[in-house]
């Protein structure tokens, strides 16, 4: 069973077609990158996957449960693109709140919070109000909030923006450790070199999927050295075929 599956998703927001026939799947135990420039529709696609938005047509599944559903949401840890944090709570209080919403029991909450704080290296700052946090610290806290309840599916919307390179590497290591324990992870990014780190990639442009496969496969198929070149090649290809399905 796939951790996440989008089937033939189309959605129109405010009279504008945002996504057209998007198919996407994430296998449990892997990290899947959703790569595309700003405005490609990545955020819209992941919101549909976690049940915040509903598609006009097509279906979204999390671990076989059709979204949106409360059962499906129990299994998802979602990190939004903009830091969804309460500025007038401390770091720890933010995590406690989201942990409680996710149904983490009282007896395990403190331990989970400690572990999540450690993963994102915020243990020392946990008692500060998040209004006093830097952008990178807020990003890390938001990531911790998504992982608190140790969900089998993680959906992270541009999680590493604004985080310095060393810490970024630590976070990727942490994510891989989580994935290897069986979690399916969907990460959006517009940074090409980050895409190289993913097990699988889905390339997206103008609300359509223009290519997918492992980074190595994609490069080999297109005969290119970098994912960036692959992306440009595929973009031109789809432009020529006037929005036809990219394989």
């Amino acid at each position: 069973m796939e951790a996440i599956e989008l089937r033939n998703i189309s959605i129109t927001l405010g009279k504008v077609r945002i996504l057209t026939d998007v198919d996407l799947s994430v296998r449990a135990g892997t990290v899947c990158g959703l790569l595309g420039p700003s405005g490609a529709g990545k955020t819209t696609a992941v919101k549909i996957a976690c049940g915040i938005l509903e598609a006009d047509s097509g279906e979204a599944y999390v671990l076989g449960t059709k979204m949106p559903s409360l059962d499906g949401m129990r299994n998802v840890g979602y990190m939004a693109q903009e830091d969804a944090l309460y500025a007038d709570l401390t770091g720890r209080q933010n995590l406690e709140f989201f942990g409680q919403l996710q149904g983490v029991t009282k007896s395990t909450l403190a331990g989970r919070v400690d572990r999540a704080l450690e993963l994102v290296d915020l243990t020392a700052d946990a008692g500060k109000l998040t209004s006093k946090f830097s952008g990178g610290m807020r990003r890390r806290l938001a990531l911790a909030a998504a992982m608190l309840h140790e969900p089998p599916v993680l959906i992270l919307d541009e999680p590493t923006v604004g985080i310095d390179p060393l810490l970024r590497k630590n976070i990727w290591d942490g994510l891989y450790a989580v994935a290897r324990s069986g979690t399916g992870i969907l990460i959006t990014t517009h940074v090409m070199d980050e895409a190289e780190k993913c097990d699988r990639l889905v390339l997206m442009r103008n609300g359509r999927v223009i290519g997918e496969g492992s980074p190595a496969e994609l490069k080999e198929r297109a005969g290119k050295q970098t994912i960036e070149e692959v992306f440009l090649e595929l973009s031109e290809h789809t432009a020529e075929t006037k929005g036809g399905e990219a394989e």
Binding site: I52, V76, A80, A84, F98, Q102
Partner: protein
């Protein structure tokens, strides 16, 4: 569990957000204090009535600043004036034949307790004027202790029934009959025709001071302006600030993206609404206690009823305000739209809540606003010592409004997540 998580979060946020806390607690206190000074300052005049008072007495009283004295033919007339709010107190020195046999002539003072500080001033003034009449300052203290029992025994038989019935203040105002101190009925019975009173008062005062007895009457017309507006304005100010703070908090939840994060969790829509009501409800309890106690004890607004009921109504009203605030902020697209709801939905409630004398048609229109019921209940308690039996309709209506707003909000939240 999730409801509690929301409530705890709101309390924690509030503990870090001193400005919002001040908006909920300090701002209402400041506003009510301001209102107090505005209304109290408008009229310092103390109106006093007198029956059968000798010229000497009238002059003594009128020599005081800001005091006007009106003379009445009978105690019944004076009582009527008190009931109508024309005077805050009156003195009756028109005495019966029996009184001539007493060691000291009697003076009867009736004070409208609802008139607050003015009533106190009037009582003090009348007492001292009556006691110093004729200069026998040493005597009253010796005589007074025994005087009450003498009054009761001595006057009762001689009182004439027809007279008594219309000089009974309580008979004019059925509403207040139970708020009169018991035991006054005997004194009231001494309301007498003025037959020989003039003689008595002319003959006696030079040698003896008056034996003064004082009664308190809880009227409703003699409020200071602050008494008149206090309970209603208090209701409005609590309603306004709770509406504003809860509405803004909910709007901020949406604007900051946290609502989206919240609805990505398996929380139910009703749990969000209930959590907010619980959290802000808890803050509101603290707010109600502080504001009510301040207004009653420090500002001394009229308070004839029980504090417990006042708190109950304040709390119900605040819950109504916060569920309305949340509902409108869910409906509003922006902070600006939320602000627009204030003149459209909040201010009109003030006009219809009983602050002004409205025509029948407008009064009926006012029934669509929750604040009307809150102010009505508050007035029943603070003026007439109303109990749950008098205001259960208001309680039910306030609860009904809250439930309606909360239910609509749960429905409207479908805009953000269908399930």
């Amino acid at each position: 569990m999730r409801v509690r998580a929301f409530a705890l979060r709101i309390l924690r946020q509030m503990s870090h957000d001193k400005r919002t806390l001040a908006l909920m607690i300090v701002a209402p206190l400041l506003l009510m204090t301001l209102v107090y000074y505005i209304f109290e300052g408008t009229n310092d005049e103390i109106s006093i009535g007198a029956v059968g008072a000798p010229q000497q007495f009238i002059e003594a009283v009128e020599s005081e600043n800001d005091v006007t004295l009106t003379t009445y033919e009978s105690r019944a007339d004076a009582q009527q004036a008190l009931t109508d709010g024309a005077v805050v107190a009156y003195i009756d020195i028109a005495l019966t034949a029996d009184d001539a046999e007493l060691e000291a002539p009697r003076a009867y003072i009736m004070v409208d307790a609802a008139a607050g500080s003015k009533a106190q001033a009037a009582e003090k003034l009348l007492r001292s004027a009556a006691e110093t009449m004729g200069g026998g300052a040493g005597l009253p203290s010796a005589i007074q202790p025994s005087s009450n029992s003498l009054d009761m025994g001595g006057n009762q038989p001689s009182s004439n029934l027809a007279d008594t019935s219309d000089s009974q203040p309580s008979s004019n105002l059925p509403d207040t009959s139970d708020s009169r101190p018991s035991g006054n009925s005997l004194d009231m019975g001494s309301g007498q025709p003025s037959s020989n009173s003039l003689d008595t008062s002319k003959n006696q005062p030079s040698s003896n001071s008056f034996d003064v007895s004082v009664d308190y009457y809880k009227g409703i017309k003699n409020f200071t302006s602050f008494d008149m507006f206090g309970p209603t304005l208090m209701s409005f100010i609590v309603f306004f600030f709770v509406f504003l703070v809860a509405g803004m908090a909910f709007l901020k939840e949406r604007k900051s993206g946290t609502l989206e994060k919240v609805i990505s969790t398996p929380v139910r829509r009703w749990e969000i609404v209930a959590g907010y009501i619980l959290g802000f409800g808890a803050i509101t309890i603290v707010q109600s206690v502080i504001i009510n106690v301040y207004i009653i004890t420090v500002l001394g607004v009229i308070m004839n009823g029980s504090l417990g009921y006042v708190l109950l109504i304040t709390l119900l009203e605040a819950i109504c305000a916060l569920s309305l605030g949340m509902l409108l902020s869910t409906a509003a697209g922006s902070e600006f739209q939320m602000m627009q709801f204030i003149p459209i939905i909040i201010l009109p409630q003030l006009f219809f809540s009983g602050l002004f004398d409205l025509s029948e048609g407008w009064l009926i229109f006012g029934r669509i606003f929750p604040l009307t019921y809150a102010a009505e209940a508050m007035n029943k308690i603070m003026y007439y010592d109303g109990g749950i039996g008098d205001m259960w309709i208001d309680v039910v209506v306030l609860l009904g409004f809250s439930a309606l707003f909360a239910a609509l909000n749960v429905l409207l939240l479908k805009r953000y997540r269908r399930i």
